[in-house]
């Protein structure tokens, strides 16, 4: 609990800075309007107006909160203005991609650990591919799939899968290799088969690594889905909300979509964290 106070202090400081920045960045516009209307603004007026603009340069925190609340609770869930609806579209693609990517990553990691040729062939490229900005071509993948007639959830899920694939692969290979020689020798002295070594030793000892990379992977999958929703023509999903907000100068809409995405990411990571704690405690690995 002694962490709560510092965190709250920093958060308060951030909100205060945000308010200050909102006043400062919106002030030129308000002054300009006042000069045109030939009215004289008191400081109080200036501050009040900068915080209630329709299309502010930087919306104040309470405007974003209102936009977020309106998007989540103020609309029918089926409405196209509802953030829940957009969030669900993003979430479903994220989860589909995450599932595909994780499954592929684990399978390939198992193959790599058990087959030296595969290890030496694939691993260097898997590591090298981490340095390639794959995400940047996500919109292109969408367009190419669309020209091949594939639209909807699948192309976005493929990008999300691609992004969550490598963290899982690298983490899982590392995890499956954690058992040291002593433990492997013990299994051998019990004349355990390869399958038994895998199920009883390698897989359990890889779980901490797996969960650590799952957290990275689901955050990456969400980013991938959102970027995949950016190309013009996309109408649904949080990424599309961001894009349409930026086209029409609806800053409050951009910020609420951004915060909705942040909440979604935090919830997903927290969910995996909870699963991690539960599993590791059952296995007696919890620290």
């Amino acid at each position: 609990m002694n962490r709560l106070l510092p965190i709250l202090t920093v958060l308060l400081a951030i909100v205060a800075i945000w308010y200050g920045a909102a006043v400062w960045m919106n002030a030129p516009w308000v002054r300009d309007q006042a000069a045109r209307a030939e009215t004289v603004l008191t400081t109080g007026d200036l501050v009040r107006q900068t915080l209630t603009l329709d299309r502010p340069v930087l919306p104040a925190p309470h405007q974003v909160a209102a936009g977020l609340w309106d998007g989540i609770a103020g609309q029918k869930i089926t409405s196209k203005r509802s953030l829940v609806w957009h969030g669900w579209i993003t979430l479903s693609a994220t989860l589909a991609g995450f599932a595909i990517g994780t499954a592929a990553g684990i399978l390939l990691a198992v193959g790599i650990v058990h087959n030296r040729a595969m290890d030496q062939s694939v691993m260097p490229w898997a590591v090298a591919s981490q340095t390639v900005p794959i995400l940047a071509i996500a919109p292109m993948v969408i367009v190419v799939f669309a020209s091949a007639g594939v639209t909807g959830l699948l192309p976005k899920a493929i990008i999300a899968a691609w992004l969550s694939f490598f963290p899982v692969l690298v983490g899982m290979v590392k995890g499956l290799r954690t058992p040291d020689g002593m433990q492997l020798d013990l299994m051998r002295s019990w004349s355990a088969s390869r399958a038994q070594v895998f199920w009883r030793l390698r897989l359990p000892s890889s779980l901490p690594y797996l969960f650590a990379s799952l957290k990275v992977a689901i955050a990456a999958a969400l980013v991938g889905t959102i970027v995949g929703e950016l190309p013009a023509g996309a109408t649904a999903g949080l990424g599309a909300r961001l894009l349409s907000g930026s086209y029409y100068g609806q800053t409050v809409q951009i910020w609420s979509a951004l915060f909705a995405a942040a909440i979604l990411a935090a919830a997903l990571v927290a969910l995996i964290g909870a699963a991690e704690r539960l599993t590791l405690r059952r296995m007696g690995l919890a620290r």
């Binding site: 040729a117 030496q120 062939s121 900005p133 071509i137 919109p139 930026s246 910020w255």
Partner: protein
């Protein structure tokens, strides 16, 4: 029947690799990786030719290479605009700001306890999303891209640097204290060097992020040059070989960027066990 040559090449390469992998020396390891990469390229080329896949969906490696050679001038302007001006400037500013912040909050455990969880949290957020906002604020040119990159790289580097500054052992700090070293000296001679492995970990992670930020930000508006701009317009003209050539540039730039940072790391943290181990 048309798939036969593809399967033949695949099986042949796999057999060769399986045989080579048994030696496990440095040269054969390299050879195995290279053979795998070459096999993928050959299979790709064969698949495109045999099944006559239109270049709109998937161009063959040879077409991409030809497009790369033809458009070197365009690719170079895009490289300068996006990588050198956008990504690199932003990465440097973000890294310096993060290091300065880490040193500044290092003296206050209170701030550290408050900032670290928030930094960890923010590092997991889809920060790319602020790209449209920053493009609105800083205009279409490279400044807005650099700003996106600054925000994207700041928190991962900050978190790593704070962890690094805390990495010295009490015994070592006590030793500095017995020598009556002032704060600056103990920072400069003990804690900064000790933080370097952590810092470089953060720097390496963020090289890719920097490129991603710079390219994605261009989708929200850019001058008529830049890799993101070129990718989206070339997709519009269905000039997929050019798109893939840009991707090739991004891949080369990303690997080079990472490689250079890793090289500097090797020079700076030569004393660290992980580096010593590699020298063998």
């Amino acid at each position: 029947m048309t798939a036969l040559p593809i399967i033949a090449v695949w099986l042949g390469a796999m057999a060769l690799n399986t045989w080579l992998a048994r030696f496990g020396s440095r040269a054969t390891r390299l050879a195995v990786a290279l053979i795998f990469g070459a096999t993928v390229l050959i299979l790709w080329e064969m698949a495109v030719r045999i099944y006559a896949i239109p270049p709109v969906i998937l161009p063959a490696p040879s077409q991409i290479g030809a497009s790369f050679m033809q458009n070197t001038a365009i690719l170079w302007t895009d490289f300068v605009q996006t990588i050198l001006k956008g990504a690199l400037t932003g990465w440097l500013i973000g890294a310096l700001a993060a290091i300065a912040t880490a040193i500044a909050i290092d003296r206050s455990p209170f701030l550290q306890r408050g900032l670290l969880p928030i930094g960890n949290f923010v590092a997991a957020l889809p920060i790319v999303g602020i790209a449209p906002i920053l493009v609105m604020w800083f205009g279409f040119d490279w400044q807005s891209k650099a700003a996106v990159v600054v925000v994207m790289v700041f928190f991962p580097i900050l978190v790593n640097m704070v962890a690094g500054l805390a990495a010295t052992e009490p015994m070592q700090r006590d030793l500095m204290a017995t020598w009556a070293a002032p704060y600056a000296a103990s920072l400069w001679r003990l804690r900064l060097p000790a933080a370097m492995p952590f810092l470089f970990n953060g720097l390496k992670i963020t090289t890719t992020l920097a490129l991603i930020g710079a390219i994605v930000a261009e989708f929200f508006g850019s001058p008529t040059r830049g890799m993101g701009f070129r990718i989206s317009t070339a997709v519009g003209r269905l000039d997929l070989p050019l798109v893939w050539a840009e991707i090739l540039v991004a891949a080369i730039a990303g690997s080079l960027f990472y490689g250079i940072v890793a090289l500097i790391e090797k020079k700076v943290t030569f004393w660290h066990p992980s580096q010593r181990h590699q020298r063998g």
